[in-house]
Symmetry: C2
């Protein structure tokens, strides 16, 4: 297995990414090769500073970088030798089995759709976030920003994608899928959620448990929380801000600790023809390491193949 | 001033409501009369148990109660002698100057629109929630559930309503109004927020500060957070669940304490022709007391008159 890592992606790249690659190397099995994509001389110098042999990695040198604020589509087209563009070419050609970056999220989303493309039958790829449960374990929230407006049919598909991810990556058996809504009753909701409910109720593609509310996010009523990317993004940023508050106030707690995105490594882009993981822009080495390990888990669990089968 | 209180509304009524009325009486000025609407014998018995003179209140005896789970419109029509129906009649006839209940929220919303009616020019009345700010003070979130789907023009009006409330009730000077969104940039958002931004940018009716995100809710970037009732309801319930987690974990903190809805008493229904406040179903006496005091503040601040003027 060859895992591609964009060493130019993220606010602290390439130092944090190369240090993350070193940490990941120490955990990965010998048959798992890490391919570092980006400024090779810079990477070599960081490796040397850390007394770590460059032979442990493969390198693909690139000369351009897509900045965090750049327009995704324009940047992908105008910077063909950027680490993200090159990474997606390698992925498309089968030179790597998964690609990960803590860089420009939009460019990762656009790049994945341009290169490996959306799985036939999937209407809209989406992004996920992990939410910790109070009693232990975790839940999956999707979409968290790739699709601000979603048709009911798209939300139904998110249920399939989230359920497969929960099962494949996090070993949750028969995951409970809930529709994020403003009341438990079937007749509660906005136009979209009202139209989505009967579709989910009728499906045999996942274990629909009905409507869930904002207060259910950390509880056990569902493992997968489906919503449009607008709602999911607001939820995610609000939850993160709570975590930041507890940190600032010095509140140490096992539950709050599990809000730390670093432990999850990043968000897979679900619904495209290859494993792609996007990390948080502020990722330190620990987060980069876990992003790489998430890539490995995605490949090993054959999540992409399972999604393809589900949408055949 | 005569403040109407539905003593049958809420999970712990009439005990919690009557005890709340006693607590409110001790704070209200002599010229502020509390009118207790509901089962008079039950109220008299609770007052006697607490050695509190019934002469301190006016009473309107009613024989019916609208339950928490009842269909709002049907219940209002089918139970004309319910405390909520009678309360709105008193309000409409000018017998009371404000009406408050911790009962069925939908019935309070429908009742207010049926009786005192929506202020001409206001497209949709809405409900608000108070969110504490990390550095002290508070913010207003609206809508939190009255309107699951909102047109951009409706969101623009929520900006006016929230701004007037912040100014009148909470003495916030020139309140900063933010549009809840998924990015700070003008071009970020879903169809509705994208269409709302230019309307807010062009208005001279409030101090628009641009887009805000989930993470800004407890910060100082805005005093008023405008969103549709779906998003607002999800935010509110998520925020409440965080507060509950901190309580369960025994985390005492001044900031988290200020999440306690009891201190705010309830949510005004903004955009109708009289002061109406809805309390939380689980309101204890302290919350009921503050709901009554919020009614007083709404009357004294002439918020309804200010809204009427703004929409002339």
């Amino acid at each position: 297995m060859r895992i591609g890592l964009d060493i130019m992606g993220g606010d602290y790249a390439p130092k944090a990414t190369v240090l993350g690659a070193i940490a990941a190397f120490k955990i990965l099995a010998p048959e798992h090769k890490l391919v570092l994509i980006g400024d090779k001389p810079a990477a070599l110098s960081i490796l040397q500073e850390n007394d770590f042999s460059a032979d442990n990695f493969d390198f693909i040198h690139t000369t351009e970088v897509i900045g965090m604020g750049e327009h995704p589509t324009k940047a992908i087209v105008q910077k063909p030798d950027s680490s993200i563009s090159v990474g997606f070419n390698l992925l498309k050609e089968g030179n790597i089995d998964a690609f990960s970056s803590a860089g420009n999220t939009g460019a990762m989303l656009v790049g994945s759709m341009f290169s490996v493309k959306t799985i036939p039958g999937v209407m809209r790829p989406c992004m996920t976030a992990i939410v910790p449960k109070l009693k232990g374990g975790l839940g999956i929230l999707l979409d968290v920003g790739a699709n601000a407006d979603c048709k009911p049919e798209v939300l139904l598909q998110f249920g399939v994608l989230g359920s497969l991810m929960a099962e494949s990556i996090y070993n949750i058996d028969n995951p409970k899928v809930g529709l994020m809504n403003i009341g438990e009753e079937e007749e509660k909701g906005n136009i979209t959620s009202l139209a989505t409910y009967p579709l989910m109720k009728a499906t045999d593609k996942f274990n629909f448990v009905g409507n869930v509310e904002g207060r259910d996010l950390f509880g056990d009523s569902a493992d997968v929380f489906v919503c449009d990317g607008f709602t999911g993004n607001v939820i995610l940023k609000l939850a993160e801000s709570f975590y930041v508050v507890t940190l600032k106030k010095g509140m140490k707690d096992e539950f709050f600790d599990r809000f730390n995105y670093e432990a999850y490594g990043g968000s897979p882009i679900l619904g495209v023809n290859a494993p792609v993981v996007v990390g948080h822009g502020i990722s330190p080495p620990e987060a980069i390491k876990n992003m790489v390990l998430l890539c490995r888990n995605m490949v090993e669990s054959k999540l992409v193949e399972k999604v393809k089968q589900a949408f055949q």
